[in-house]
Amino acid sequence: MTFGKRLRGLSIASALTLTGALALVFFYAPNDADQGFIQKIFYIHVPMAIVALGGFIFGAIMAIQHLRTGERRYDLRSYVAIHLSLILAVGVLITGSIWARASWGHWWVWDEPTLVSFLIVFLLYATYQPLRFSIEDPERQARYASVFAIVAGAFVPLNFLAVRLAQGLVHPRVLGTTAGGMPGTMRLTFYVSLIGMALLFVTLWKYEMASKNATWQLRALRRRLLGDDAVPSVGGRSAAPRAL
């Protein structure tokens, strides 16, 4: 199986869409009447949050597939998706804090449900890698990690709901549920940013999958050519899935 297919096209599409999004953010979308220039942070913060949460959900779906079929490739797909989503989640927390400092005068507000629920989801997934690392047997590691990914995935919709149901209304709603949401220019900019971020996620996911696949193919080749002793690192403990 190869994962490098269409990677070049995806990379170009991601680069073009993200560049287009940046151009729209700074040269097309107007400044927010209420927040002013600081609102531009949302064009990167919100797409990152949506894609990160979507990645966690994708990881959970792949984990379900792994438990259903027992095929290790689904475990790898789940692992890479969660790994990338966690990196994006770090970006969400930092950019969110920067916005909060500029808008509210505080880096973090503990009584805001949206922030705290996202932090809970982040901390939950932060234990995913240590959990995998703590289990030496690859089969058991993959199975336990899949169960974890499914259970943790159930918390993700709660984060989406927290944004909608929060009564404090301190955290702004980017996609309004009623009339009076974003004007057309802002909405277009936001959607281009969201598509760009989603494309970037898919590109990096395929990139990492291709890299892991190449590593395993190489180890298999080394084993075939030089014998089992030539691949000492395979038996060692690792958080990453070990073979397809």
Binding site: G36, I44, H45, R72, R101
Partner: protein, 65 residues
């Protein structure tokens, strides 16, 4: 909410976008390290296959499960 003046808000907006860029660059750097290791292993393997006569290499077997 009172909007911050542009010179003040600009710093925060720049910082947020730089964070994204930094994360992306760190990720690319880590992946570059992995690619470098892969290339080194491939070179070693290529050299080993040249120095080992074909008859001494093992019969192909199922590589990964």
């Amino acid at each position: 909410m009172t909007a911050l003046p542009l010179d003040e808000a600009g710093k925060y907006v720049a910082a947020a976008y730089l964070v994204f860029l930094l994360l992306l660059l760190v990720y690319v750097a880590i992946m570059a390290g992995k690619l470098q290791r892969l290339e080194r292993e491939l070179t070693e393997l290529s050299e080993a296959s040249v120095s080992t006569p074909a008859s001494e290499t093992r019969e192909p077997e199922a590589a990964v499960q």
